[in-house]
Amino acid sequence: MNNNFIPSPAKICEIIHENEQISTFRLKLINTSIPFSFLPGQFLMLSVPHCGEAAISISSSPTALPIIDLSIRKAGTLTNAMHMMKAGNQVGIRGPYGNPFPMKNFVNRDLLFVAGGIGLAPLKSVIDYCLFHSNSVHDAAQSITLLYGSRSPSDIAFQSVTSNWQEQGVNCRLTVDEADTDWQGNVGLVTDLLPRHNVTDNTTALVCGPPVMIRFIIAQLSAMGCQDEAIFTTLERHMKCGVGTCGHCHLDGKMVCMDGPVFSLSQLKTMDVMELAQ
């Protein structure tokens, strides 16, 4: 009998404090003989003792396996309990679930990532994956640009990651809604950064962040000439099962956990989606 809902225990090997709200939990499965693989954009159902489960995107690249990173913002009971965990503690995971980003379509493309807050987590997996393949003739993207918005300088997550990406040739542009006295960088919404960048026929855009950000960025990208098939986002919805039966993520005839969470704009346009609402 296939026990669909029995998680596999995993150990927290390391906790990377990203900011006051977000930490990255570096996990390894206890039973290393369990076959586990995934692609960027997929998610796990994470179990924390006595707290049930929550759907969390994998923020590391599959090329980093057996290490699995989950970058988690304190948002509710489970995520707050997760932030109380220490290195060496165990959690449960099952998955991976959902459709990944179509990585093969990104070869030789100019990739434009637009992220807000914790929305960078699923995109980080894609960027790391692309950078791993950057020296490969057959698998490399043409260029990688990241536009990343945070509320304030202290809300910026993945600081060391972005500076590391910059060194590897990623064009990283950070912006904050509100500056503090030390902030030297850009101030304003991530939507203000976008018009300064070129969108061509070869651009593929990957967008993740708050729904309102997704809505405005997608509208901007379309206005700048980006094709519907070349704009991707990943949707966040309340989920309980991950396998398309609990009904919570039902979206106009589709299940976000099974048919998404990654959708192209051309797919989204056929659905009644909050992220595209006027």
């Binding site: 225990p9 449960g92 039966t245």
Partner: protein
Amino acid sequence: MIDLKELILSKDNLIPLLRKLKKDARLIAPIKNEYGDTLFSEIDDIDAMKIDLHNQPQASLKPFFLPQQETLAGYTVNNGEYSFTPPDKAQDTIFFGVRSCDLTALLYMDLIFSKPSKDATYYDRRNHSLIITLGCNQPFANCFCEATGSGPYLEYGYGLQFIDLGDRYFVSAGRGKGADLLKKWAYFFREVNEEDQKKRYQLFLEARGQFTRNIQVAHACQKLQEEAVPEEIWETLSRRCYDCGGCAYVCPTCTCYSIDDMAQGTNHGIRVRSWDACTSSGFTRMAGGHNPTDRSRYALKRRFLHKLKHDYAHHGKPSCTGCGRCVDICFGGVDITTFIDLLTTQKTT
């Protein structure tokens, strides 16, 4: 050699047959309890309990396959080790007196819980079950199964289908367990004759003529494929929905659920799956409070579109089986028949 697919059972032989069946499996049938409610219940003593085949069971078979609350796993945290144990196994169960609508609903649940892989606890129970249905010769007050294509008699899906011919039952066997059962207990039955066939057909025609409600289900499904529902219909319905979840709980095809942990001590607990209702305000709310559904306007949109639009598009038929239970339970009067009536009588602009 007699044909084992269709046989006649004298009503005098019903209890003796059920007594035999009960020796090998748990027996569940509609029983009227002390409060006057007819509910599917386990039969301990077949001579002491009165099987009620005259009233519609107030709950469907759903609780026996997707229980209101069930344990999916046990968990323990011991010296930092977090481990899980599988749930209890199902036992062989025979259901007797199941109505056509409720078996149709079960066949729909089979579909839902088969993808992407078979749901372990659901299919464990399903594989250990045999369903004996009773065709309806007289629809109940709110029934409209003829409009949903799920009654009053069934063509397939049952282990055995009983049709009441007065002093006897006309029994049809499905494939597998049902046919095996007829073979095993053949001495309770006699062969079908021409008069039995005629009587069965006559009762079927009469039953179809007795529906008092004319619900335009097919028209509604078709219309939903072609055009959007006017906003005022959603708003009218939402104003009268009180977030009780009753419709989803009594519905034999509402399968939405939640999964939560129930601690049973500091170091252990159980992971529980329980019924949920998409009409409830917290159904789509995410951690942090963001909610993609505006309940004040669209409380019932997801439920009705799922059953009549999306399932019709995916499976070729709606996932409403016309059992009418939501009509009884909804004190706001905004059950699925209200929606279908509003939609189908509304003029196309």
